[in-house]
Amino acid sequence: MDEQLDNELKKRIQQVFENFEDTTADEGWLLLREKFPEKESKRRGLIWLWWGSAAAVLFIFLGIGLWYFNKNEANVQQKNYAAQSAKHNKLQSAVAKKAPIDTVKNVQPGQAQSQIADASGKNNNVEKHAPQQVQQNQREVASIQAARNDTVNKNSSRGAKSSLYSSKNSLIAKNKVTSQQTNVNSDKQGSEKSYQQALAGSTKQNRGKTNKKALSPLPAGTDKTTQESLAANNETDNTNNPVGTKPQGQITASTKTDTAAINKIAAMPKPAKKTIADMFAEDKQITLKKKKDDTKTNEKRVHFGVYAATYFSYAKGSTDEVNMGAGFSSDIKISNNLKLVTGVAIGQNTLSYPGTSSVDAAASPYSFAPSTNVAAAYLSYAQVATPSIKNYNANLVGLDIPLNLKYEINPKKSDTYILAGLSSGTFINESYTYFYNYPALNSSTLQQTQGATTSKSFNSFYFAKTLNLAFGVGYPIGNNHLVIEPFLKYPLEGLGSQQIRFGAGGINLKFNFLPKK
């Protein structure tokens, strides 16, 4: 008996609420809009703020890196000459033999060897000729130093001038930009204000409406109103349909009469609204128009994106160094699943080769002929006085132009893809720094001095010498996509003026701008 009652009640509740209709959807939507767009705009604002700050940090680091790099280069050159001249003075007083440290430092390894070989050839007269050679060396060093100091001074003065000029320009540019920005901002603020005023007006109106009309049929926060409306409703129900007399087939009819009763209470003149059917018809027309346009644009569709990369540069013998880069990319649609991806990226590649000395005295090529006493003496000197490379750093700021094929795994459902291709490019700046250990002859301890830095800019263009492999997963952010793309760059041949085979592996954080539909 009880179970039957329970089941009947359950069925009735399900029937009533499954087919529940409510006419206050428009008011409900307006109330939702008070929360929902604000949230969206806030979130978008946060995203842009995050991206802006990330980009700013990236550019600041890049700028500082380049500035530091350029400054360091000039300092290193100046320091080298100063350190070397001091060294020479010391050596002049201590050594009677020719010690071509200066030339070893700046000259190519082959030349250095030949000079050393010359020196070893003159071993018999070493002590006799020593003072003359020292004098000659002094003259050479002085002349070279004077010439280089001139160029350094010229360069520095030019640098100062140009930096002043550029700072002036940047200030002018900044002022222009800020004035433009303020104009834009004021325009934006104006439009936002007017939009907010309009919205406030509409919401006020709607609130008025909802309070007056729509929310009145059911308890809008107050039970009294509900009871009153219910009482009215029940009275009509009781009079027209006494308990137990109503047939079961009229269930839906009764619910409709109920809603009709609610509507009567709520019945107030409402402004003309768009029904869903109208919206559908409107939407169909728009989509038909758009389809025509889309078929044209689809064929030529190109998507652009920007990305920041963090990666490890690796090479045989080098320690892995963390580097950063940034660039923009464009995706050119070939077929539904296939895209051609190209763009330009700037990235730094730092390599550090610790400990391996190419000018190791023990393993030096001139250690094979210790036939005479003089040669043995020279060898003992060479072991003590020849500089050995302690460390070797390569720093390459590269301009990378990738040409990749991107296969999207399921473009309709997700933004997941694999990518492969080749990279070409050049190096904006290549610098190779050698750190030598110069032995101090008076003491047994080694004295370290920074060695030479050679740098080149746009030395050569390499074509398809790096293999690119990547895998990407995208997440929609509004109309755009945020893509996380782990990648690997594998060197097919040596790069740069030193032909170093180096690659990179890391993660690209990509922001793809999709055209608005």
Partner: protein, 188 residues
């Protein structure tokens, strides 16, 4: 419902995934009645129900990218609205778990035979139930949750869920019987 269904529903959902505000509005209006029907059963009043519906739709719009279109949208919507309503009433539910409930005779609902009960009658009847009983009755009897699921949702033991359900049913039965007697006296 006066709205087109089937293909149109899928189309609206797919457009909502692109963030189209217009299609979000269409989706809202298409399922507003259905969502209100669920929300009203769990809420104290109509304002509460509307806020639950709106909060639920905001969740839907934010997470619609993760919605699997192979599964029925209504079921997903129902789950979200139910969870939102329970989250909103969680304070009431916790409070009522700790107090002894008096079995005072309920107020008159003006109810009729079960088949004649309309929306207001049912809501009036249900609002006589304590929040915890109302929630468990709705979850188990109307929305098809089992006691283990309810226990997980409300952080109570499944045995408590059974007890509250039987109390809710008993209370409803008593109310209906009392009303039937009252009506019998007045008509007789």
């Amino acid at each position: 419902m006066h709205q087109p269904r089937g293909m149109a529903e899928d189309e609206i959902i797919s457009k909502c995934k692109t963030g189209s505000l217009k299609h979000q509005e269409m989706l809202y209006k298409l399922f507003y009645g259905y969502a209100m029907g669920i929300s009203l059963r769990y809420s104290l009043n109509r304002d509460d129900a509307l806020e639950v519906v709106n909060d639920g739709f905001i969740k839907i719009f934010n997470a619609i990218g993760n919605y699997n279109s192979d599964k029925p949208f209504k079921a997903w919507l129902r789950t979200i609205v139910v969870n939102t309503a329970i989250d909103r009433r969680r304070k009431d539910l916790k409070f009522q778990l700790n107090i002894e409930l008096d079995d005072a005779m309920p107020l008159s609902t003006g109810a009729k035979a079960i088949d004649d009960l309309n929306v207001q009658d049912i809501l009036k009847l249900m609002n006589e139930l304590p929040a915890i009983q109302l929630t468990i009755f709705n979850l188990y009897e109307i929305d098809g949750y089992n006691h283990d699921e309810i226990a997980g949702l409300l952080s109570i033991p499944p045995s408590s869920s059974r007890v509250y359900l039987s109390r809710a049913k008993e209370r409803l039965r008593n109310m209906l019987k009392a009303e039937a007697q009252n009506n019998g006296r007045t008509t007789g």
